[in-house]
């Protein structure tokens, strides 16, 4: 062993190769390394939030996609989606122009068994009253089943019928993930076993490997996130022989009634340092962008940043999507930016930051169509949108406030489970609102000003700094930190060329006099109005750039103040999905006779006709010494 290590060291030194970095991922899988391995890491684009027929809400709205079909779709194959004719043929087909690099099917674990029983003739309970409603009145069943927090009678007195039936979809999800995972050296596609825990807040659980618990702990048995982590610790990490590990990713804090980023236990006591560290370790990422809106920030709720006016849901609770009388403006604590600031305060109070998380985006598709983020040809969402089972109604197919969702991007050495999972754990990840923008951020104490022109931008970034998701090391002197940030536009495809970039920003939060302050710095590109787009034809106009890069030094740095920084890059504006669909339907808001029933929202001036797509880096933190 020692001899082999010395030999490897000698070879590395002799060949002039850099020694492996301390944060290199650990290989645990038994599989060949990927042919395109690079220590400098690449961005891999994927979707970690995908629902198929096994999710009650997707199923009751006509989705028939299986997990295997969802993974096929992510790899570039066409997928038929609802509505369906009498022969089971789909009325619509969707297909990605570019395959994804990775995906995870994350069906709601609540009611796995109930939905299976109600959909499977011959199973005990299939003929129950509830299952008849499920099949005959699926929308009513959606509300009844999601509104129920006690066991169903048709599950049997000991619930064993539904518990046993839970295992069927869970096994199929695990089998589909294993079958679709490319374990050859070409490493074209990676899958993760996962599921969604849908309680009073919503979270996705992503497992590191094929080793998972034999059931997916749901919010019915484990109603608080502490219960969820406990169940996963016991059934996954507790099985040390199996190499089971997981990350939990909260999402839709924007419509969570201020419950996602709380700093108190259920009994009202504040989180202590150990609890904060547990949360940060279990939840290294949050989903900042998806179908049901952006969770970054909301103008008028703790910030006046005008660029927060982006894919906001104008109410604070998902239930208010249906119960419209419940609608109220979201509070600041619903948003990720606020949580980053609260995390700084908690760090000062308890000594640990519970909100030490990076960012990803995903779709939350309920059509089983991962990565379907194009604004053009958006077919709706299939979840909390407009139900489509047997016919395509002549209406706007998604609520106007929803959007096609975003993507998760992971910086990793190769496209394998070990490498991607390690990227999630160290938060070297970022979110996009759909386009495949490349975004890289390093922070350090003395990154060279001319780094953008250097061929070794990445090598220097890693050597002299930390990547996105990291913590600045303790400074030797009180110099201000520097940040090297580079964004490259989405290359696009022949049919859909990428949109040029407009503006690069650093968002800084810091603590001063016991309060969180924020400032948005324009660090590259143009802060003028973005290049335009003709909303009638959706033709773009104006300029922009293919790449933005800068090395920025914080001009207001206070070494005594805890701070956190993240980058945001914005494209030029393009037509929003709703504008594309409304134009195609012939809706002209100046001619009321063209506004048919069901299309009125096309002309709701509350919602913009254009969208400025973007990407958000994970943050870099500064903690003052002592």
């Amino acid at each position: 062993m020692i001899g082999r290590t010395l030999l490897a060291l000698a070879v590395a030194v002799g060949c002039g190769l850099p020694a492996a970095r301390a944060d290199a991922f650990e290989r645990r899988e038994k599989r060949p390394p990927c042919a395109d391995y690079t220590e400098l890491r690449r961005p891999y684009f994927g979707d970690l939030h995908v629902h198929t027929r096994y999710s009650l809400d997707a199923n009751t709205q006509g989705t028939r996609t299986t997990p295997a079909q969802a993974y096929d779709f992510a790899r570039g194959r066409a997928l038929g989606i609802q509505p369906w004719d009498d022969q089971g043929r789909p009325a619509r087909t969707v297909q990605l122009e570019r395959p994804l690099d990775f995906a995870a099917v994350t069906d709601h674990s609540e009611y796995f068994g109930e939905a299976t029983i109600c959909s499977t003739p011959g199973m005990a309970g299939y003929d129950s009253w509830m299952c008849r409603i499920f099949r005959g009145w699926p929308r009513l069943a959606f509300f009844l089943m999601n509104g129920r927090r006690t066991p169903f009678g048709f599950c049997g007195e000991d619930q064993s019928l539904c518990t046993d039936a839970d295992a069927l979809p869970w096994q199929d999800m695990r089998d589909a993930a294993e079958a679709a995972y490319d374990k050859t050296r070409s490493c074209e596609f990676t899958t993760f076993v996962g599921y969604e825990w849908t309680g009073y807040t919503h979270r996705n659980v992503i497992f590191r490997s094929k080793h998972t618990p034999h059931f997916a702990p749901s919010s019915i048995e484990y109603p608080h996130e502490n219960d969820l982590w406990g169940a996963l610790d016991e059934t996954c990490r507790g099985d040390v022989a199996s190499d089971c590990d997981f990350v939990v990713i909260p999402h839709n804090s924007n419509v969570s009634s201020s419950t996602t980023f709380h700093t108190e236990n259920p009994d009202g006591t504040p989180l202590d340092a150990e609890q904060a560290r547990r949360r940060a370790a279990n939840e290294p990422l949050v989903e900042i962008m998806q179908h049901k809106g952006s969770s970054e920030c909301f103008r008028g709720a703790g910030t006046e940043d005008e660029l927060c006016d982006f894919e906001n849901i104008p109410y604070d609770d998902l239930g208010a999507r249906f119960a419209t009388w419940m609608r109220k403006k979201p509070d600041a604590v619903n948003f990720v930016r606020t949580a980053l600031g609260i995390g700084l305060l908690e760090q000062g109070r308890s000594g640990a930051n519970p909100f030490h998380f990076g960012f990803i985006g995903s779709t939350d598709t309920h059509l089983g169509a991962p990565g379907l983020t194009d604004e053009v040809g958006y077919p709706g969402h299939g979840g909390a949108g407009v139900p489509l089972r047997t016919e395509l109604p002549d209406v706007l197919l998604d609520p106007i406030e929803f959007n096609p969702g975003g993507l998760a991007v992971l910086w990793a050495e190769e496209n394998s489970r070990d490498a991607l999972f390690a990227a999630m754990q160290r938060r070297e990840a970022y979110a996009t609102s759909g386009p495949r923008i490349r975004l890289r951020l390093f922070g350090g104490w003395d990154l060279p000003e001319e780094l953008c022109n250097a061929a070794d931008f990445v090598e220097v970034g890693y050597r002299d700094g930390v990547p996105m998701g990291g913590d600045l090391p303790v400074a030797q002197q009180a110099a201000a930190p520097t940040f090297a940030v580079r964004a490259v536009k989405d290359a696009g495809t022949d049919r859909s060329p990428g949109v040029r970039l407009r503006r690069l920003q650093i968002i800084k939060l810091w603590v001063a006099a016991g309060e969180v302050r924020e400032r948005v710095f324009d660090v590259a590109g143009s802060a003028d109005e973005p290049a335009g787009v003709d909303t009638a034809s959706c033709e773009p106009s104006g300029d922009g750039v293919d790449q933005l890069c800068t090395v920025w030094r914080d001009p207001e740095f206070d070494p005594r103040a805890a701070a956190v920084y993240y980058a945001r890059v914005l494209q030029n504006t393009t037509c929003r999905w709703s504008t594309q669909v409304c134009n195609a339907a012939g809706i002209d808001c100046d001619r009321t006779e063209t506004i048919r029933p069901g299309w009125e929202d096309c002309c709701d001036s509350t919602f913009p006709k254009v969208v400025q797509e973007r990407a958000w880096s994970s943050p870099i933190w500064y903690t003052p010494p002592g």
Partner: protein
């Protein structure tokens, strides 16, 4: 048609076709008959599946309360309309009410006047669509 039969016929017509607002979570504008159907389904599920928590109790209470309200409301409107027809003789009353019913049923069967977000198919429905 007697005045009494006219009153009940008008009530039935209103109960089956009048677009009235109600809520079972989402707000619908549809005939009270649809609300009655939903309330019956919820009641049946509640009896067969056991207690379902506050959401089920609230939905059931909402459904039954609104059903009772709309029974009374449509009955009151039917009495009012029946008085308008009271001056006609029996044959004329029959013709007027049948003609009116044909027009109303025809209209709501052809035009999607109902807003039905709980529908399995579409947000707007005709009379036949509310049973999908």
């Amino acid at each position: 048609m007697s005045p009494r039969a006219a009153k009940w016929s008008l009530w039935l017509l209103l109960y089956c076709t009048a677009p009235v607002p109600y809520t079972l979570g989402p707000i619908e504008t549809a005939p009270p008959l649809r609300l009655t159907l939903f309330s019956t389904l919820i009641l049946g599920a509640r009896l067969s599946e056991g207690p379902g928590g506050w959401v089920w109790s609230a939905l059931l209470a909402l459904g039954i309360a609104q059903c009772l309200f709309y029974v009374a409301f449509t009955y009151a409107v039917a009495i009012f309309l029946a008085r308008i027809f009271a001056r006609m003789d029996d044959a004329g009353r029959l013709r007027a009410i049948v003609a009116g019913a044909i027009v109303v049923v025809g209209l709501v069967s052809l035009v999607p006047v109902y807003e039905t977000p709980i529908s399995s198919v579409a947000m707007h429905s005709t009379l036949l669509g509310i049973f999908h």
